[in-house]
Symmetry: C2
Subunit: 358 residues, 2 copies
């Protein structure tokens, strides 16, 4: 009763941090009667170890219930180097697809996959990058979701160089190559071509007044607007500025904006929406005024989200391979693939009832 117990049990000395687990490599080595170095070689698998000692070590590990400490591994540089995805929100389903593809590729190559959400908050975004760098991530994938205005080029350059200082790279997903900042890697799909094809589809059906809903300052919107412009040019048609409507990726805003458009003095006969989510707003506006889709107004979206099939009639939309894009982004980030070949992944126009009434 008079002997005060030491508050914590230490194994090998009285100084320094507490052990983080029960049994470590040294214990396994001791139990197997070999040096820690040999035990390490067994687990890393790179060096040559005699079969007999290999088995001895493995048996000891089994018996002692040894689990490798990846943190220590990572610290000495052999380590685990994780892959992170930074995005504003998981909500548009394509972001989840992108994350899925990236996660799968990361997991396949034994890289932990981190997810960080900015919720469109610039300060949070900075904190996230700072934290990821402190964690010594291998790479960061970034994409701008939810219609938030994308990060400025200066900010991206700052992030990229901060990452570079710990040997990590930045990969922007859904972006076109930055000629002025080649250190920032990009992966993309053919957004321009997809929308262009959608417009061609509409013009081939005889539409002349085709609106574009979703002009804004994001690069995503920019690419899709370019596709719209090219599609119009293909048909030899001029763009009526009154039919180019500024809108973020928000169904409520799209509802309001498209209502004004549908009730204007010379409404369009077709609307190209820069996302499926904005297309939802157009459906609502059409329903408000009992305007029949596609007879009185044709609608095209982008993303081929679950929404596209849930709507009545089904939404004609551009399908993009987001899972593959995420996988490719991860491959590029982890340098599993030659960086120089960065072709855009193909997109595909999915035709449904919102543009055809057979």
């Amino acid at each position: 009763m008079s002997q005060p117990e030491p508050p914590v049990i230490r194994r090998r000395g009285s100084r320094g941090p507490l052990p983080t687990s029960d049994v470590n490599l040294r214990d396994v080595a001791a139990h197997a009667g070999v040096s820690p170095a040999t035990a390490s070689r067994v687990f890393s698998g790179n060096a040559s170890v005699s079969e007999s000692t290999r088995l001895k070590v493995l048996a000891s590990a089994q018996e002692l219930g040894y689990v490798m400490n990846n943190l220590a591994q990572a610290m000495v540089g052999a380590g685990h180097r994780s892959l992170a995805l930074v995005t504003s929100s998981l909500e548009p389903s394509w972001v989840s697809d992108l994350a899925t593809g990236a996660q799968d590729t990361a997991a396949k190559n034994a890289h932990p996959f981190l997810l960080a959400l900015t919720h469109g908050d610039a300060k949070r975004e900075q904190q996230i990058f700072a934290s990821l760098i402190e964690q010594r991530v291998a790479a960061v994938l970034m994409t701008d979701s939810a219609g938030a205005e994308g990060p400025s080029e200066e900010k991206l350059a700052t992030y990229a160089s901060a990452l570079a200082s710990v040997g990590a790279v930045l990969v922007m997903c859904g972006y076109q190559f930055f000629p002025t900042m080649p250190q920032i890697l990009t992966v993309n799909c053919d957004q321009v071509g997809g929308v262009r094809q959608a417009v061609q589809h509409l013009t081939s059906k005889g539409h002349r007044r085709i609106a574009f809903l979703g002009w804004n300052r994001t690069t995503t919107a920019g690419q899709r607007f370019l596709g719209y412009s090219l599609g119009m040019r293909d048909a030899g048609m001029a763009i009526d500025p009154a039919l180019v409507i500024e809108c973020t990726d928000d169904a409520v805003e799209a509802h309001l904006k498209s209502a004004l458009l549908l009730k204007s003095t010379s409404p369009p006969t077709a609307i190209v929406c820069f996302t499926d989510n904005t297309a939802r707003g157009v459906y609502r506006a059409a329903r408000d005024f009992a305007i029949i889709v596609p007879l009185q107004i044709a609608i095209v979206g982008f993303d081929d989200s679950p929404t596209a099939t849930d709507l009545t009639p089904g939404l004609t939309t551009v399908s993009a391979p987001y899972v593959d894009l995420g996988a490719r982004a991860a491959s590029v980030a982890l340098r599993l693939v030659d960086e120089n070949q960065n072709p855009e992944l193909p997109t595909e126009l999915i035709i449904r009832g919102s543009t055809t009434s057979e």
Copy 2:
């Protein structure tokens, strides 16, 4: 020209691993003319440091471009201890919501957030757990999505004890407390009550033949079936086994199964679907046969996903606070909250056109 350069530049010796960054705490300390210990104290903020040295150290850090190495921090135990979410897929939107809530709470408390997808593959699941344990995660959240048959209780117990060996906990999301395995933490929302209320809503509208679509072996389906049973009992109605349809969380399967149901000799007047996703299938079947919702068939879902508003008519469904549930799961996992108080979060019936035709 005759001096062979050493292949890598080492800083403090010739043996051992390569440095993982340019500048470390020792460099900062040296630059500031203090000991590493003091510099450490400045950054951890716990111990007392004189203001003048504090500023000196901070200035040096700034000047040298020092970034803390969380890996080293984590290894000595002061560390970063991440939170992981293990799930089969991100696809049902509620999983994304859960992830969002968990991520936000983790981030708020400076815990990295890891995402790992099993795709319903048991072997992958095991690998994921093994890997997470090697990474010394603080906690693992798990949920069964995509209608995959949930993990067996033995497996959960195995995972929980493996996690416990490195001081981590397992939190099952959307599960009821396991009386036989109190070491497994759970968070849940009132799924039973939500469905029960939905059935009450239907019976109050005069429905007598109410089907349940989605009976299966997952605990999720089990809870919702219980709600259905209680709702039926509330109205003094017996359950017709012919109206309890086995189905996983798959719209295609639901389409087929509900088509059979709708074309049976005595079809129901209402169908309670255990997810919104299965409800989509019912809408498709109804459309196939030109059966009008809600006049000829009333439909109820669960999740209040975007689908619920995209469908025509809008889907009456049970809304569950998945973001909050994820946040709570993270709080419980990271012990930010008293574990003992685990009340179920409330759910809410959202009434839309699929059950009312005013």
